[in-house]
Symmetry: C2
Subunit: 211 residues, 2 copies
């Protein structure tokens, strides 16, 4: 995407996975936070499974004791953010097709790609729309004003497979190991729970005492 | 410890490890947060290594890419909390002796145990006092007004070894799998970054929309 060149006003880099509850919560506030500080958001669909593979990390849900806490925390964090939330079933799901649709759109119209991302995350985490199911994903595409057949062709197209792979590689090279992950002027913030620190940073830069 | 019996005003349960940077940061604000809401704090020294063993979790620092981010995040989180912080060397350290001193004190004087905990965390994370070194731990005990010889005898005493083990077992039974970990009227909060949610909960209970 082409950036408006304003010094010190680079877009917020926002990395998300379509199957990540905290990415969904963040997707509901990131644009408002950016707007409050005169920023735009550059959205990046990534595959957490790919990033975990390369680091030896595992999803939260693989640790039973952590899973119980995390489930409670998802609902609570959504409620604190004023965002509707339900835990989908199945969860987690493969998000490779949704991510390819995102990158297909992103190549020509980043705003539309972001709108699709928000709609898909909201569909999965509020209406149990299973994005890993081709028919449900096509219907969601149609509901958001896309050509569903073209979307399906896109997720099977080598070009967008390669684009997603390159996006994952680029995220990994940028140090991304989880989602949501944000980068503001080179400063990384990991997690929906870093909203407050990121906003303070956008407002006034580094906190006093941080070198 | 004996609790003052006020309905709905149970103490905040606060679980920490002497080698946990985020536990240290939380130890600097937990008493003020509790006081603002008419609560007391019940401190629990635990051994993260023990809790990790039982869950299959690993410390942050075992994942190189996460470690780099986490180090940055520790400094930033401390600065945002207005807390002085330096990353000690060696880090992490064994904290079994410090934890036994804590439980030795806690048995007779919980406030003194909490004061010792704050001093020990601050010593390790601001002045590089190596709590795993018997001589440095004894000096720290003396500096905080304790009988250093009695403290050393306590950490070698079977009674306080057993007490720490029981405290770890109790923490595990309560669902604690990391530190800092807080429980407010049965609601668990994990991490220094849940301060805001915990304060809102103390103020008004569950957020709107949370069942």
């Amino acid at each position: 995407m082409e950036d408006i060149k304003l010094p010190g006003k680079a877009p917020i880099q926002f990395y998300f996975d379509f199957s990540s509850p905290y990415s969904y919560i963040a997707s509901e506030w990131i644009e408002a936070v950016a707007a409050r500080h005169g920023r735009r958001v550059q959205w990046h669909a990534v595959l957490l499974g790919f990033l975990f593979q390369s680091t030896g990390l595992k999803p939260l849900v693989e640790y039973p004791i952590k899973r119980d806490y995390a489930t409670r925390d998802m609902f609570r964090s959504a409620a604190f953010a004023g965002v509707p939330f339900s835990l989908p079933d199945p969860f987690p799901i493969g998000t490779v097709n949704a991510a390819r649709v995102f990158w297909w759109l992103e190549g020509t119209d980043p705003l539309r790609a972001a709108a699709f991302a928000r709609a898909a995350l909201r569909g999965y985490f509020t209406r149990n729309v299973n994005l890993s199911d081709p028919n449900q994903l096509k219907r969601l595409c149609a509901d958001t004003g896309l050509d569903a057949e073209a979307a399906e062709a896109a997720w099977g197209d080598q070009q967008w497979k390669a684009k997603l792979k390159a996006a994952n590689d680029a995220a990994q090279a940028a140090g991304v190991f989880g989602a949501p992950y944000f980068i503001v002027d080179g400063e990384p913030f990991w997690g929906n729970d870093r909203q407050q620190q990121m906003e303070a940073w956008l407002q006034s830069g580094p906190p006093k005492g941080l070198s």
